[in-house]
Symmetry: C2
């Protein structure tokens, strides 16, 4: 399975063709699965949380995979996620597979590879897929679009800690867990839970009628992990029964097909030699207000479609 | 100006070419302007609010334009927005121009036309542009991407009224106004203001350091309109001074250029005769899980690039 995932992560055209064949072959073997996205800013204790949560899940008899989308690795060429040593228990657990984040690639490429890794892992018999990401950039939107349940990890004593989370992420969450609710921090965590609960009541309800619960937990002590798990499974059961889960997956699959088409078409455009010659100049003209965006776009498209012969 | 806007709204290729020329010519004449997006579900009193707000602005010496993005008109082929009779004072005001919403067209087309109408109106000397939309669908995201300030109109006694607003809209707002704060409703509106203020404190702060204020007003009586106006101008002044406003406009312009390119490329793809023959079938295969999205996308792209010769 590792090799298959490496294949879908590859940017070589020959590997990508092979990956498409592997994927097409896998589709028949996919069993019932549940996909959980987890986000939270660095410092929230995400690795420890996933280690505790994932171990609890394998203890219940599930086969668990942890994948990561980490656009920060694009810049550092290293990865702050997906380091196996971060999840000591889970990485030694025979019922779990922790996949390190690919060390490089654009967010689009990493997203594609992760989506396909999900399919491969499901074909290999894993029934609980955890996709983690850091609470910065566009990666949460990518993760949100490929999972059934989206969990936001937070700390008590909001305000400062929230600065790292992008606007809009809060409203995407299907549930919030306030971590590090232990010792001196327990009271603060309980207060934060009450505040978030009342705030979430003011916000628009999702079409599926689910009001995101706010839970407290201590990943280090393991406190609250069973209750949180129960909440996630409650979501799975009610949303399976009312049909929203199946519908969401169908929509996600269709959207992903169209996004892939758009990605490929745009990629061809931006890699065009004529476009590359003039693009930065056009961008500057648009930013400085010299030409309206639509005019610049029209000029570029004309250049692309009618190359100098 | 009306005729120029009709031109940018046209879907005829010849009109679009002409519109591009008109726009390119206009760019030199654009003066300092401020663009305000306003959203809120039907029943919130949006027309009455814009009538009162806009009249207050012309009273301060501004030249005001009201444009509308109304995707609902796509379905009904009529328009629930942009009806001039909704804004009695403003439509008779010589310093104001109320543009009815185009009666048809895709959201993408209407968005493009509205963006260009903004540029035309600014070239014609209007310095305050109001873009209104209903709190449903994707139209708020479109409006948010073309304005300097995004105002969310709400009613007291949240909960039920919020159902119509899409998730994520709340976190896009630069300010919230609770309308119909009059008579028996005044106390409820004040309470709602306190609740939203404390809720917004829990949510991530924008990069520009602006915490969205919550105001109460009664558009019918005119109460609170001057205070709201002051708040909007306070935003304009502080965000101009710290450079965020200019930066946001440059980003919006660049993004719009790239979005237009993507729109044109996708449009050509989906209008391709070979693609149209097989697309619905591929979508169904993807939705039912028969083939993975990436595989379907790859097959479609191959079909598009290598037509049967």
């Amino acid at each position: 399975m590792s090799r298959a995932i490496t294949l879908v992560e590859s940017t070589l055209a020959s590997d990508q063709l092979l990956a498409v064949e592997v994927l097409a072959g896998c589709q028949a073997h996919v069993k019932e699965s549940f996909r959980i996205g987890i986000t939270g800013v660095p410092g929230v204790g995400k690795s420890t949380f996933i280690d505790a949560f994932g171990s609890h899940l394998t203890g219940l008899g599930h086969k668990v995979v942890v994948l990561a989308i980490d656009p920060s690795s694009e810049i550092s060429h290293g990865s702050i996620l997906g380091d196996k040593t971060r999840m000591e228990r889970l990485s030694r657990d025979p019922r779990a597979y922790v996949r390190p984040s690919p060390a490089r690639g654009s967010l689009g490429g990493v997203t594609r590879a992760t989506r396909e890794a999900i399919l491969l892992c499901e074909a290999a018999g894993f029934d609980l897929i955890i996709v983690e990401t850091v609470g910065v950039g566009q990666s949460e939107i990518a993760v949100h679009s490929m999972v059934d349940f989206f969990l936001l990890l937070m700390l008590a004593g909001a305000g400062d800690e929230l600065q790292g989370i992008k606007k809009g992420i809060m409203e995407m969450a299907d549930g919030i867990a306030i971590n590090k609710a232990d010792g001196d921090n327990l009271q603060k965590a309980k207060q934060a839970r009450a505040e978030y609960e009342s705030a979430l009541h003011l916000f628009p309800m999702a079409a599926n009628g689910w009001l995101p619960p706010v839970k407290i937990c201590s990943a280090v002590l393991g406190d609250g992990i069973p209750e949180l798990t129960e909440m996630v499974f409650n979501f799975r059961d009610t949303q399976s029964a009312n049909g929203f889960l199946g519908n969401q997956r169908r929509q996600q699959a269709k959207t992903w097909m169209h996004e892939t088409i758009g990605h490929v078409l745009l990629n061809r455009f931006y890699k065009d030699a004529e476009i590359q010659k003039v693009l930065i100049d056009k961008e500057l003209q648009v930013e400085s207000g010299k030409i309206p965006p639509t005019v610049a776009a029209t000029q570029l498209i004309e250049l692309y479609l009618q190359p100098i012969s």
